[in-house]
């Protein structure tokens, strides 16, 4: 009986959780730094929730740091345009797929659970190449 009450209570409370559309959060930003979402341009303030399809945009003195829900971490440098084109992640099984497009600028990455979940489950695209991430820390530059 007690168990049944717990079931009812917990299902209601879990439904009240924030939407699962969140794939990461901005942790820090400096200078001209925005997140483009469709036609909207949001200031990249700490705590801003990032969604699949968002584009990180920085100006001459701009920088953005963020952490994704699979523990992947990004640091984007000045004059960058970086699209998170695909981010699928199952929090329960910790598997997924992740495609980032570095159109311009510089990006430091520490890979997380998605990269561990399967060979080349995490990919980074530049205008002239495609990379499969097999682990840990690197920098991609597109001048």
């Amino acid at each position: 009986m007690l168990r049944r009450v717990i079931v009812a209570v917990s299902l209601v409370a879990l439904a009240a959780q924030p939407a699962w559309a969140e794939i990461g959060r901005i942790k820090q930003s400096i200078g001209a730094a925005a997140v483009e979402r469709g036609k909207a341009r949001l200031p990249a303030a700490p705590g801003l929730q990032v969604q699949e399809g968002d584009v990180l945009v920085t100006g001459k003195n701009g920088r953005i740091s963020l952490t994704f829900i699979d523990n992947t971490r990004f640091s984007a440098g000045p004059n960058s345009r970086i699209a998170v084109s695909e981010f699928k992640f199952d929090r329960a099984t910790q598997r997924g797929s992740f495609v980032t497009q570095v159109n311009r600028g510089s990006l430091a990455i520490v890979s997380g659970q998605i990269a561990h979940s399967g060979r080349d489950a995490m990919k980074v695209r530049t205008p002239t190449s495609l990379l499969g991430v097999r682990g840990t820390r690197f920098v991609v530059k597109v001048p």
């Binding site: 209570v9 959060r25 890979s111 990379l131 499969g132 097999r134 991609v140 530059k141 001048p143």
Partner: protein, 197 residues
Amino acid sequence: MPRGGRFILAATGLVGGCAGPSLLLLPGEQGDQGAVAVLESGGKPQETVVSDVNSRTKLGRANPRTRVIGAARVKTSERALVARLPPPPVSFILYFEEGAARITSESRPQLDAIRAEVARRPGVDVQLTGHADTLGSSEDNDALSQARALEVLNILAGEGIDRSVMTALGRGEGQLRVETADGVRDAANRRVEVVVR
């Protein structure tokens, strides 16, 4: 040099020596090696695995070449970029009384450590994943693991952590910390894992 000349130099990428697209592979934070595979470059599908740390690979040609440069020759701008990576997420484990969503007294001090970690991270988010041991039915354990995660969420919210930065999830008996047969009580499996990012 006339202005126009400087512009052409910059535009053709002759300034700075390595102005084309590139990959810099660094050692992992634990000193681990890691690797990145070039799957496509200059229109040519391939699988060129880069695994030398502190190496630079020029991208965009059909045959990407990797050069080991050594840690000393990583550029200042690249160091600045890496220095601004967010800190690694930190994990905590809270253990629970048997069959209940009640934190053990031994685990309670962990709540203070979690609060302190949350306070020092700008833009923080917290993930709470509840688990159960294999005693009882798997349906009951799904519910129990959710109730445990919610118990922690509610305690932390009561201590002033904004609910909008927390997500709770129950994994039932699907992710045991200690492998056991079904129907086994095991204190190490009755837990909530907390990740502070």
